[in-house]
């Protein structure tokens, strides 16, 4: 997503990461992480995520009732692409960077055909961060 954000930042595309519930808190690789106990706890962990993964994209936190997350489908790794008219043009239960790249490339090329962009993201070459 960082690669995509860099690619599209000057083409009027806003990237927002929504920090949601921890799906694997306390499991083998994450013994010290607990489920959120309050909004402050959730925000604290969002800030930790920001540091751990060097997140530079806007990182937003839902309230502790997860109302906004619920409206969007309540999944841990979903993605939406919305055009500037506020219409959903792409959604998926998983963040497929190649698909998002292809969707955005088409959108920004339609916005300004004099500055065409082609999909370039290949997830096999990425390091696997947020």
């Amino acid at each position: 997503m960082h690669e995509l954000e860099k690619k599209y930042r000057d083409r009027d595309v806003e990237f927002v990461a929504m920090y949601v519930r921890e799906p694997h808190a306390g499991e083998r690789g994450f013994p010290t992480y607990r489920n959120h106990e309050s909004f402050d706890h959730k925000m604290e962990m969002a800030k930790e995520l920001e540091q751990l993964k060097s997140v530079t994209i806007t990182l937003g936190v839902d309230d502790s009732s997860q109302e906004q997350h619920g409206i969007l489908g309540n999944l841990p790794n979903m993605a939406y692409v919305v055009d500037r008219e506020g219409r959903v043009v792409y959604s998926n239960t998983w963040q497929h960077a190649e698909d998002i790249d292809a969707t955005l490339a088409e959108m920004v090329t339609n916005d300004d055909p004099s500055r065409p962009l082609r999909p370039t993201i290949n997830t096999n070459n990425l390091s696997g961060a947020i």
Binding site: M1, E3, E5, D12, V13, E14, F15, V16, A17, M18, Y19, V20, E22, H24, A25, E27, R28, G29, F30, Y33, M43, M45, A46, K47, E48, L49, L52, K53, S54, T58, L59, G60, D63, Q68, H69, I71, L72, G73, N74, L75, P76, N77, M78, A79, Y80, V81, V82, D83, R84, E85, G86, R87, V88, V89, Y90, S91, T93, Q95, S127, A129
Partner: protein, 87 residues
């Protein structure tokens, strides 16, 4: 991109995305993803906010303390919104 510090590394090898299982409770995860409520979430996803529909006004508090409202981008910018967590 800066490499994350203090975070787990992706193991080498052609594990086709299965590498993350090393960090999870495999049986708990299998039970979770095959459970009726979780399957129901995935099945309901396409109709939650379908492609072609109006995106709802989402309001989030950013880690910098600001309020992000998706409606404020209307008429100005495209939006890519995705969800994630540490684990």
């Amino acid at each position: 991109m800066t490499k994350p510090k203090g975070f787990f590394k992706r193991p080498p090898g052609p594990l086709a995305g299965m590498w993350s299982w090393k960090y999870l409770n495999v049986w708990k995860t299998i039970r979770m993803i095959t459970s009726k409520p979780v399957r129901g979430l995935y099945e309901a996803f396409p109709s939650a906010v379908p492609v072609g529909s109006e995106f709802p006004d989402i309001e989030l508090t950013t880690t910098g303390g600001a309020i992000f409202r998706s409606a404020e981008l209307k008429g100005k910018k495209h939006l890519v919104l995705f969800t994630g967590a540490i684990t």
